[in-house]
Symmetry: C2
Subunit: 346 residues, 2 copies
Amino acid sequence: MDKKLTIKDIAQLAGVSKGTVDRVLHKRGKVSQKALDSINAVLEQADYEPNLIARNLKNNKIYSICVVLPNPESDSYWQPCIKGIEQAKKEFKAFNLSISSYYFDPEDTESFIAVNKSVLNLAPDAVLLAPLFYKEALDAVEKYTEQDILVNTFNNQLESEEIRNFVGQDLHQSGRVAAKLIHSIAEKGQIAIIHFDEKIKNAVHMQEKEKGFRNYFSQKENSDYEVTTLKLKRKNYETKLEDFLKENPKLTGIFITTSKAHQIAEIIDKTKNNTISLIGYDLLDKNISFLNKGTIDFLINQNPKQQVYLGLSFLVDHFIFGKEINPSTLLPIDIVNSENASYYME
Amino acid sequence: MDKKLTIKDIAQLAGVSKGTVDRVLHKRGKVSQKALDSINAVLEQADYEPNLIARNLKNNKIYSICVVLPNPESDSYWQPCIKGIEQAKKEFKAFNLSISSYYFDPEDTESFIAVNKSVLNLAPDAVLLAPLFYKEALDAVEKYTEQDILVNTFNNQLESEEIRNFVGQDLHQSGRVAAKLIHSIAEKGQIAIIHFDEKIKNAVHMQEKEKGFRNYFSQKENSDYEVTTLKLKRKNYETKLEDFLKENPKLTGIFITTSKAHQIAEIIDKTKNNTISLIGYDLLDKNISFLNKGTIDFLINQNPKQQVYLGLSFLVDHFIFGKEINPSTLLPIDIVNSENASYYME
DNA sequence: TTGAAAGCGCTAACAC
DNA sequence: GTGTTAGCGCTTTCAA
C-alpha cells in the first residue's frame, strides 16, 4: 500500500500494455487516439512519477565530461575549482561519470583555441567551459554543438543560443554589494575603483562591477562620496598607485575589481595609512592574509569552487536524471571578513 | 569498453556466480575460503564500484521521515524551514521518500513532548529534530532509538551518542563574526550586546554568541570599545531600552543575539539616532525592511532553510545510497547587507 | 498500432 | 556453500 505507482499500474488501469504507456510518456507517437485518451485520463488523476532510478539502469554508459578552465598555476583564482571537481567526482561516483580537466593559459588566446580543439577530438558527452575569450569561445561552442557535445559555462557569461546552462554571479549586483560595504565602513571622502588587470578578457567583468558600484552611489541622494576610477597594469603599478595616493589625500576607500587586492594592500600597508578601507575579491591565500591583518576589510567571494561543482551537478541532473536544467544560476554574493572566511574556503 | 565493471564481471573473473560475489560484498558469510580468496583477489585489482542505482531498485520501500520543529507561526525564524522541506521533497522525488512536518509550540515544553510522542507512534524510519528543549529532547531521542528510529538534529546541538548527524552553525564563531562587523563599522565607544528573548531554551544560544563576541574584543589589544550586556524581555522592553539609550549616550553599536533586531531597530529609528550601528540575526521580512532602510547594518544568516534541507539530504544519502554521514556539519556564517540579501532568501 | 519479452545491475529466496 | 532464478521499474526491440 505504501508504494508508488509504476508504469505497470498505469498500464493496467488504462487497459493497455507498459510499452504503450511508455510511448505516451515519451511522446514517441504511434499510439491510437483511443489508447492515448485512456492513458491520459489515468495519468491525470493518478499521481504517477516515473522512477528515474530505474529509467537509468538501462544506460550503463559512462558519461564523459571535460572541464575546460584556465590553469590555476597561472592564476590562483582558479585553484578552488580543482577541489570542486574533486568533490563532484567523489559525490557522483555512484553514477557513471568520467570527469577530466583541461587547462589553458588565461593570457593566451591561442592556448584556449588549442585546448578546445583537442577536447573536441576527445568527443566527450559534455564540456563545462570557462569562456574567458569571448569570440573564440563562441567558435568553440559552435563546433562542440555541431558534434552534439553539450556545452555548459561557468564564471563568464556568453550570449549563445547553444549554451544550456550558466553558473556564475551577477557582476552588477556584486558591484553594488561592494558599494554598500564601502558605504558602511569608509569615512566620507573620495573612493577609488581600481581595475588591476592587463587582460582585455577581464574588461567586461570589471566594467560590470564598476557600473554596479557607481549605480549604488548614484542612487543615494547627496552622497558624501566622490568616486574615481583608476586603471593599473602590472608594469609600474607601484609608483602609479603611490602617486595616486599622494594626489588624493582624501581617499577613504578602495574597491579593487579583480582578485589582486593583495597587491594594493601591500602598498597601502607600507604607507602606514590606516584610514583607507579596502574591498576586494576572492579568497586567495594572499588576500586572506591581508584580511586577517586588517588591511583588507572585506572580500567578496565569487565562489569558483561552487561554480564548477554546481555546473557538474547540473550535468548529472541532465544525463542521469533527465531533469530540466535552469538556463542560468546566479550564486549568492558572499561577504567575507576575517571571521567567517574559513567556511568559504571549505 | 566504456563500461563499468558489474557484479557479473567480477563473478566471471573469479570463476564463481553473482550470488557468491554478492555474499562476499555484503559479508553475509556462507562462502568457502577458496571462493572468498579468489573473489577478494579480483576485487583488489579491479576497481569495482557497486551500482547504487540498481541496488535501490529492489527496495521500493517508501522511507518515511518526520521533521519535528517549532511552529513557524509562533516564531517566523522557522518559516524558511518549510521551503527547505519543500525543496527536499521536490529534489528527492525520485527516491521513495515520504516527508512530513510536525510543529510544536516553541514556548511550551509540554507540546514538544506531546508532538514527539505522536511522532513516535507513527514509527517513521527517521526523525529530523530541532531539539529546543534539551532535557526533553534527550528523552525523546532515547525513545526513538529504542524503536530503531534514526534521529538527526538541526539548529540546536544536543550531546548524545544516539544522534548520527547535526546540521547547524558554530555560535561562538558567529559571535566573533558579529564582533568583527561591529569593529568595522562602529565608531569608538560603547557597544551593547542585547539578549532579547524570554525563552530559557535560547539561553545557551545567546550565551555562546556573547562569548564569541567578547572573545573577539578581548583579543584586540587596547580596544577602543567597551562592551556591556543588556537583557530584554517582551514586557517593558521599549521603556527599558529607551532608558538604556539615555543612560549610555556613547553607545555606537548594538549586537542583538536573537532574530528580534527589528524590534530594537524600530525604537532606534524613533530616536532619530543615526550613529548607532546595528547587527542582528536572520532574514525575517521585518529585519530585511530595516536593513534596506539602513537602520540595521548587517544581518547574520543562520540559514534555517539550508539546515533542514541538508539534514534531509543526509538522510537520503544514508537510506538510499548507504553513505556514511558526517556527525556534524557547520554551515557558513553568512554576512548579509541590503545588496546581497535576496540571494539568501532564495 | 500494439503487446510480449528481454535485459539493465543487484538482491534474496530457493534449490541442490 | 553455491549457483540459479525471479524480479525491482523502465526502455527498447521484435513480432504480430
